[in-house]
Each structure stands twice: as structure tokens, then as C-alpha cells.
Symmetry: C2
DNA sequence: CTGTTAGCGCTTTCAT
DNA sequence: ATGAAAGCGCTAACAG
């Protein structure tokens, strides 16, 4: 059945294997393998013969076959949610680039109701992935166990301490909450508030808590205006409540929502700086001139490096104690506050 | 060396294989394989025995090993650029979801100067991918040949007809350019212009050409205001030129840039509807109340389906003639025009 | 329907 | 430094 020779109409283009290269180069398959393995023991002469033959034949190592023996592929799962928030996109892009820069391949897995993180990570386990990076909601705990059983490390981004046994990278939320309050006061605000989806995310909650703690420390009464989701629409719709409360300084736990708040305030006739607004993340829109939002830069490039560092050290030392890295934040002052 | 039994301190958690399941279920490895292969010939009884044993042992098929025999993995490369444009993000997310829904796994490959599409696609060829989807710039032609040689199908999104032998999905750019002109005139504009990075992208160019063609057809003189890149910043900076030309109706070839134009016009004192603006793509920001941009919805959900359809039919019929699918556009009327 | 056998393409001992 | 041989986990072909 299996035709060795193409006959013109044949499908299944015959792939070039290490065997072909070995024969062409007059060496063994082992030699070919070594030639393509970093710091393997091959003479420069052999290596060149192999490279030469490989180029002529158009040979490429089959990494899938390689990972069969290695017990581990160079894939890393990237589990993401909320990509409508431009910050999540930035984060994703930086993570993907950082992974590729270190010779891993990111498998993109957006989550949703149908494809919750548990299901999606279960799928990943079929590919002997080197690790899983989670920016979406934290998965149920049985997932951690399954991954541990298979020796697959997990890194959580901006997730809570309910997972003391998992490596995490978290934004310095206490710092931003704290500084946000100070900055709004310096800018002349008298009546502060924070807008946040409390149940919704760890970072969101922590930023709000830190903000309120700082207010209390300063003897200031400041309400938490709750929203269901930290997005543009909910920010927009929360504006009237802020106006009713007579607020003139508001911290939004992310920029995506802050843009909505600014637009909502404008509609309510309280735009143009009447209410000072501070956001978080420094998404591209924050610097758009319709907003010029004062915000906290959460540097996703350094964050991505932190994540990959955690991942690779976990791979090399599977039993090391779990670590937490903090991503520093920087206040970016613009017109909105 | 290789320890078969864990001794407590041992690494390399021993993975469960089909052999273990076969033994536990009292069947052959082939039976196990069949139990996990859709429409394979197994009795329900055997299948259940296998599932039972598999569950108890925590067995998962190793898809990497599977694709070694199948000669093809279920990975699909997703080559993307310009993810700062929210439309590209939407596109990406829809593609990823659509792939996953059909049991493919997207490998995310953002391109840039360091990682150009050629390099990146070359990498993909090591993974026996089922296909490559390209939303970034079209790769050099030798890539098409290499992929063809390996039997890896490519689908191009919004790329030109310089590639008649490749499957493509393109937005109905002629339609949007045409309608944009009509709509601006209906809205009362007298002096039209189009802002576009002509060299930059196929869709960009086509939309602009169609717009200008329609103007000419109607006997209207309309300039093309060129920009280097179709992004917010360049749109913003192009606004003064529009004002100087006395333009009161402008078509921006994408929303991302249109937002910049609107902000730029506002800064130049020509905001608030003095100049009618039509964008393209219907990104989330288009409906933000700071913009309320009239635009063309480019439905990435249907586009994604078109792409995957093209991909799977190409996989099953590698020698079929190349196809082009058009994604329909819909005018969304908002305040800006 | 089921088991046996022979690989898929690569890496890795183990000798030499 | 190199080659022979065994094997990673799975599936397809062939008998029965």
C-alpha cells in the first residue's frame, strides 16, 4: 500500500528523516541526532557534513518525535480570559514573545463558559507540555493535583494566596491602591471612592482594599462602588452613582473600566476634570487624548520575564518551594488627575 | 539508571501508558487505542472496560506519539502581527476559539522584526502542523514552497492576489470603500478624503481605492491622505492636514486609526461632528461614547469560520484549486457620521 | 471484533 | 567521537 516513491499523483509528500540525512552524509543516525543537539559530543567535521546534507535534503528535526524520548515537549499552555481588556492582550503578547525567545511554543487557550480552564488544561496534558501559564480565573484545585502528578508546573498571574503551593507573579497591588489615594488627594480631591468588582478578581480586590485602607489611615471616609465586571460598560454605568455621591476623586482598579467611568461622567455632565480619575495598567487607550488617564504602569514585559523565570526554574527544580514574584508599578501622571 | 519505581525522592513521575491500561483492562494495547479513536471498531463492552481502567489509572492518550504515526499533529500555527490594534486581537481570539472548537490547537506566533514570519513559520514546520493561518504580513514566497513541500496548507487573511495559489479570506473591501463614500455624502459632507497607509496593507489599499473610485464615479475630487501606519498615533497626527484641506467627510481604513483622527480633529478645534468620520472594523472602542464611530462591522466570528473551513477542506483535498472567500461587511451608523 | 506485528522519527545507553 | 541497538507511546495492517 504505502508508496515509497511519489508517482506524480501521490499524496503524502515523503518527509525527510534523520535516516536520509545519515545516509547522505555517510554517518549514523545517532550522529545526525547529535549534530542537532546542543552540546552533544560530535566532531566539528561530522557536524558540518550533517548540516550540509540536511540543507540539501531540506531536513528538519521532528520535534514531536524528539519529545517522545525526552518525555517533555517544548509547548507551554497559555490560558487566558478577558482578552477584550486591552491589558490582557498586551500581557498575552508579551508572554508569547518571551516564551518563544526561550524556545518554548505557546499554545493559546482562551477560556469561556464552554471552555473553562479545567477542561482546557486537561486537554493540555495530552501534549506533554512543559508548563502552564494562567492569566484567567484560577482553576479548581483538582487541576493542580493532576498537573503535579504529571510533573507539569503551573504559574499563576495576579491570582490569590489560596494557592500557596503554586508559583505566582502578582502586581504590587497594595502599592498602587495606597498611592492612588495619596495622589487623588494631592490633586485636590475631597471626596474619594473606588470602583471595583470585588468578587471578580484578586488584583481588583487587593487594589481596592489597599486604597480603602489608606483612606482610613488618613481618616477619610471613602465608599467602594461595586460593579459586576471591571469593564468599560460597567464603568460607564457606574458614573451616575459617583455623581450622586458627590465624589470628586475616583480610583478605578483598571483602565479598561476607567475609560468607561470617564465617558459616563462626561455624559452625566461631570466631565472635563470635575472628577479626578486614576486607573490602572496603562493600556494604550489611557494615553489617547480623549482620556489622558492618570494610571499605574504594570510593565508586562518584565512581568512576562518573571513568569518565564519562575517556569524554567521550576522545570529544573521541580521540588523547590513555591515562589511569589511582585511586579512593580509606576504612577503615570496625566490630565485625568 | 532509569528507575522504574519511584522511591520517594525520584523525579520523572512515571507516566501511565496504553500498555498499563491494556493490562488493567485485560485487553491488548490496540484495543485501548481503538477505544480512544472515534469510529474505530470496538465493542461497547471493551470500550467500557478500557475507559474504566483508564480512569482509575489516570491515563491520557499521548497525542504527540499519536501524531508520530499519523504523520500530522493537531497543531495549527497562528501567525499574527499588529496586536496593538484591537481588531487584530478580536480576530485572533475568534480564530483560536474556532480552531479549538474543531479540535485543533493554536500555536501563537506574534511576529516582529526579530521574529519575522518566515523564521517563525520555519519553526512551525518542526511540529508537523496541520496548517498555518497568517494575519500578519505575507511571508516571502519560498515559505509557500517549503510548506507545500511538507504538505502544510496555508490560509491568508486579508492578503492580496499576489498569491493566487493560496487559500485566502478577504474582507469585502470594495464594498466598504464604496458605501463609505456614499454614506458620507448622504450625511451632508461636501469635501471628502480618505486616510490610509497605502503601502502598508492589502485591505487598506483596496478600501482606499474603492472609496476613490466611487468618488470619481460621482464626479467628486477627493484626496488620499497617506500615513505610514494605520494606527492611532498616525491618525491623530493626520488630523491637521485634513483641517487644512477643508475636509468635512473622511473615511479611515480602520477604526484604530479613526479614533486617532477623531481625537486629532478635536484638538484642532474641529471636533463634535464638524467633520464626519467613517471607520472600519467596529472595534470595541468604536462604540465607546467618546467616539461613537460610524463604521463597518467586519465579523470576525464568521471570518474565523471561513478560515477554518478553508483549512480543513484543504487538508482533506490537498490538490483542490485555491479558493478565496469574502467576508461581508455591514455599515454601523453612529454619531460620527 | 480483537490481538499480533511492525513501524512512526528520534534519542540514548553501551560498546568500541 | 562514533555506531549498533533498544525503546519512547501509539496506531495501522494483517490475520483470525
Amino acid at each position: 500500500m504505502r508508496p515509497r516513491e511519489g508517482n506524480g499523483a501521490s499524496r503524502e509528500p515523503r518527509r525527510v528523516t534523520s535516516f536520509d540525512v545519515a545516509r547522505a552524509a555517510g554517518v549514523s543516525r545517532a550522529a545526525v541526532s547529535r549534530a542537532f543537539t546542543p552540546d552533544a559530543s560530535v566532531s566539528e567535521k561530522t557536524r558540518q557534513k550533517v548540516y550540509q546534507a540536511a540543507k540539501e535534503l531540506g531536513y528538519r528535526v521532528n520535534y514531536l518525535a524528539r519529545s517522545l524520548t525526552n518525555k517533555r515537549s517544548d509547548f507551554v499552555g497559555l490560558v487566558a480570559a478577558g482578552l477584550d481588556n486591552p491589558f490582557r492582550t498586551q500581557q498575552l503578547e508579551h508572554l508569547a514573545r518571551a516564551l518563544i525567545a526561550r524556545n518554548y511554543r505557546p499554545i493559546l487557550l482562551p477560556t469561556s463558559k464552554e471552555a473553562d480552564s479545567a477542561t482546557v488544561i486537561g486537554q493540555l496534558l495530552h501534549y506533554a507540555v512543559s508548563g502552564v501559564i494562567i492569566t484567567s480565573d484560577a482553576p479548581p484545585s483538582h487541576i493542580f493535583e493532576e498537573c503535579a502528578a504529571e510533573g507539569v508546573p503551573i504559574v499563576l498571574i495576579n491570582k490569590g494566596e489560596d494557592f500557596p503551593f503554586v508559583d505566582r507573579v502578582v502586581s504590587d497591588d497594595r502599592m498602587s491602591g495606597y498611592i492612588a489615594a495619596d495622589h487623588l488627594l494631592e490633586a485636590g480631591a475631597k471626596r474619594l471612592a473606588v470602583v471595583a468588582g470585588a468578587a471578580v478578581s484578586y488584583s481588583s480586590r487587593r487594589r481596592a482594599e489597599a486604597f480603602l485602607a489608606r483612606c482610613q489611615m488618613l481618616g477619610i471616609e471613602a465608599p467602594l462602588v461595586p460593579v459586576a465586571i471591571n469593564d468599560y460598560r460597567h464603568g460607564h454605568d457606574a458614573a451616575p452613582a459617583l455623581v450622586d455621591l458627590g465624589i470628586d476623586g475616583v480610583f478605578c482598579v483598571n483602565d479598561y473600566m476607567a475609560c468607561g467611568v470617564l465617558d459616563g461622567l462626561a455624559k452625566a455632565g461631570r466631565g472635563g476634570g470635575a472628577v479626578r480619575v486614576v486607573g490602572h495598567d496603562d493600556i494604550p487607550q489611557a494615553s489617547w487624548s480623549a482620556y489622558e488617564l492618570t494610571t499605574f504602569l504594570q510593565p508586562c514585559d518584565v512581568q512576562a520575564e518573571q513568569v518565564i523565570d519562575l517556569l524554567v526554574s521550576r522545570i529544573s527544580e521541580p521540588d523547590a518551594v513555591a515562589r511569589v514574584e511582585f511586579t512593580p508599578v509606576t504612577l503615570i501622571k496625566r490630565r485625568s488627575a
